[in-house]
């Protein structure tokens, strides 16, 4: 008989289940939000190859987010559209790295807005692709580390998705590593800008691995290693890559935490206003 309830559901006890759900929200929200941010470059990337790269990576990450949201839905959470379009900022569980705007903090605001896409216009005028590139590099490396660990997860539905999407993420890390190498061999101006973003984003990158109250439960159930361990593996990959490209590693950086409990940088509110704009015009509309 075909069964409507996935068999895997039975394997989670009452303590592990909410921990797995929280983990899925964290991963799905990271994918959705970095996908949204990277897609802001679509059509206006600095060079065509990078426009295509950022658009493709964005599309991949939206797909990965959807796979995790679908799994959440199978576990009894709302459907993906509701999760994405009906939650407030405080209900999102993404890290701060993915939320940051594609601008340096001192980018001026534009004058009176006469267009229907102020985000794009501001990006054209003041977008900082160095920031987006370093962010994507940091995130892809973390993504690769996390999916390598989750491919061995005791929770089969997560392990299956991780095994599948690792192959796609390989292209993201290939892109990031190649670009960091090129940037390291480029002009002083280029290297200076990349180093500035490495320094500025480093605390946010460490914040990807913000510990949560579920860390111990998840590790004990062999769902995933604790965040601290994943961070150690990430640093083991990223630091030699940066150093060999001629960049330095920020010292004594304090990780930027909060996202995993719903405390986000202020720009999360404007990001969701963009992301949810159409859905909120007519909630429940059928497409």
């Amino acid at each position: 008989m075909p069964t409507e309830t996935p068999l895997v559901e039975m394997k989670l006890d009452s303590e592990t289940r909410p921990a797995v759900i929280d983990l899925l929200y964290r991963m799905a929200d990271d994918g959705l939000i970095i996908g949204h941010r990277n897609s802001e470059w679509t059509g206006i990337g600095p060079i065509m190859e990078e426009d295509i790269a950022f658009s493709s990576v964005a599309q991949d990450k939206m797909g990965h987010a959807l796979a995790f949201y679908n799994l959440l839905h199978e576990m009894g959470e709302p459907d993906p559209d509701q999760i994405v379009f009906c939650r407030s900022a405080a209900q999102y569980r993404c890290c701060s790295l993915v939320v940051l705007e594609n601008f340096t903090p001192d980018a001026p605001a534009l004058g009176p807005d006469l267009s229907n896409n102020p985000t794009r216009d501001r990006l054209v005028a003041h977008g900082d692709w160095a920031l987006s590139l370093v962010r994507q590099f940091f995130f892809s490396e973390a993504d690769a580390v996390r999916m390598a660990a989750l491919a061995e997860s005791s929770y089969a539905p997560i392990a299956n998705i991780a095994r599948k999407i690792r192959g796609e993420i390989k292209y993201h890390t290939m892109h990031g590593r190649g670009m960091m190498k090129h940037m390291g061999a480029a002009s002083d101006d280029t290297r200076g800008r990349i180093q500035m973003e490495i320094d500025r984003l480093w605390p946010h990158a460490l914040g990807i691995f913000e510990p949560t109250k579920y860390d111990k439960v998840l590790a004990a159930a062999a769902v995933t290693p604790v965040e601290e361990e994943l961070c150690r593996r990430w640093r083991g990959d990223v630091e030699p890559l940066l150093e060999s490209a001629g960049f330095s590693i920020p010292l004594n950086a304090k990780p930027c935490h909060g996202g995993r409990s719903g405390k986000h940088p202020p720009e999360m509110v404007s990001l969701l206003a963009d992301l949810q704009k159409v859905a909120r015009l007519d909630p429940g509309a059928k497409w």
């Binding site: 295509i52 991949d60 089969a156 998705i161 192959g167 796609e168």
Partner: protein, 166 residues
């Protein structure tokens, strides 16, 4: 329904229907040749077709899912379910030999077998699907769709696309 169809088993008819569904972005390739149908079964009158996604964010997946359901329904089955599965994980190694041949004929360089783990070397000097020269340059690991990379052939002086090994 023809006389031959009546003689074939119901499951044969399901597979025959699946062989008529093509990838909307690579219309020469059927979903069976693409390797995205790990299993199809009939239990208590319900047809369940398992489908493993190629690239998780590929917009063609929804189209193929609907096309599969319609094709099987048109083959005479009322209760058809297309189930998205991640086990087995799809990799480009699942594309059949016939599928690889069709990709090349379509102008897409076929992927090399990668065991689910691509390396940069696999993307270098990819044989040109037009002139078979190995004197080619990788231009971009990302392309017009998630499954394609862009190369340039130094021999016949044309750019071409490759179905990415993944």
């Amino acid at each position: 329904m023809t006389a031959t169809d009546v003689k074939s088993s119901p499951l044969d008819r399901v597979w025959k229907a699946l062989e008529s569904v093509t990838d909307p972005e690579i219309p020469v390739l059927t979903v069976v040749e693409l390797g995205i149908i790990p299993d199809a079964r009939i239990e208590n009158g319900r047809v369940t077709v398992e489908m493993c996604p190629t690239f998780a964010g590929c917009p063609a997946l929804d189209v193929m899912r609907n096309d599969i359901r319609t094709a099987v329904e048109n083959a005479g089955f009322d209760d058809v379910k297309v189930e998205i599965v991640f086990d087995p994980p799809w990799t480009s190694d699942r594309i059949s030999d016939e599928g690889l041949r069709k990709l090349k004929a379509f102008g897409l360089a076929p992927p090399v077998k990668c065991g689910g783990s691509v390396t940069e070397a696999m993307l270098q000097r990819v044989p040109c699907p037009y002139c078979d020269s190995g004197d080619t340059t990788l231009e971009s690991i990302f392309g017009p769709t998630l499954c394609r990379a862009i190369h340039y052939c130094n021999s016949c002086l044309q750019s071409f696309e490759q179905f990415k090994p993944v």
